[in-house]
Amino acid sequence: MVWNSASEFFAMGGYGLYVWGSYAVTAAWMLLEPLLAARRHRAALAAIGELDDEQG
């Protein structure tokens, strides 16, 4: 273990902004993208459902 305290861990030896800035954007995208893909899938299913209703 290289860290002595939590604050030292978050400071990243003075590079906190850069390290966490990188990880935060990556993590945010990796949460967002699956949600977008799932929504697209639901939308596709819903569109097919509406098509059926129109055709009766």
Binding site: V2, F9, G13, H41, D52
Partner: protein
């Protein structure tokens, strides 16, 4: 799971880099993201080419499903690279051969996505996209070898098939674990998107109707 393991090794086990301090910990996502950006591009170009040559619709749909994820990894590679470059090189961006060719890769992804969406005739869009993807594939070896062909600011590869890795064992372990995690993520999200694309495009097919009615 691999991500948790990789992050644990990356943040708690791997030692501080002697010259770069803690900022080097960005490479645990930077390098896997850059690898994925290139691998996914080749996969996309491969599916697109197959979809064109063999007239296989599903292959073209796979190419479309891969493109946004590949573009995202390219962006993340550039983003994390900038966040590493600022404290290390003193600049967010330099017009270095590797950085520039990776930026071109991002534009190739975005161009592919824009092109296939812009053409209304789906199959024609697939073919046009395939042409762009195949021509653009030339860029991938350029990125990969750019650090060797030109005198670049970007350092050479840390890992090679022919020599022992030039980094500490735990650093390598964290990076490889993150790579596995990114692979798993890419597969999952690409197939999720592919499923949606298939439903959008094959909405007239009997099996799609059956699926929609079942819900």
């Amino acid at each position: 799971m691999f991500a948790v393991w990789g992050l644990y090794v990356g943040f708690f086990v791997a030692p501080t880099d002697a010259t770069q301090g803690e900022s080097y910990r960005i490479i645990f996502i930077h390098v896997p993201a850059a690898w994925m950006s290139m691998v996914l591009y080749l996969a996309m170009a491969g599916w697109a080419a197959f979809g064109w040559a063999a007239n296989a619709r599903l292959a073209s749909m796979m190419a479309r499903a891969i493109a946004p994820t590949g573009a995202a990894f390219t962006f993340l590679a550039l983003w994390t690279g900038a966040f590493w470059g600022k404290p290390t090189w003193g600049a967010w961006w330099v017009w270095d051969a590797r950085l520039t060719s990776e930026l071109i890769l991002l534009f190739l992804y975005l161009g592919f996505m824009a092109l296939v969406e812009a053409i209304d005739d789906t199959r024609r869009a697939d073919h046009a996209g395939a042409l762009l993807a195949i021509v653009g594939a030339v860029n991938v070896p350029i990125i990969y070898f750019s650090v060797r062909w030109w005198n670049t600011l970007h350092q050479g590869s840390s890992i090679s098939m022919t020599a022992a890795p030039k980094m500490a064992h735990t650093m390598l372990e964290a990076m490889l674990l993150m790579t596995v995690a990114f692979w798993a993520y890419a597969f999952a999200v690409v197939f999720m998107r592919a499923r949606a694309i298939v439903l959008e495009r094959e909405s007239g097919a009997d099996w799609v109707q059956a699926l929609a009615h079942k819900k």
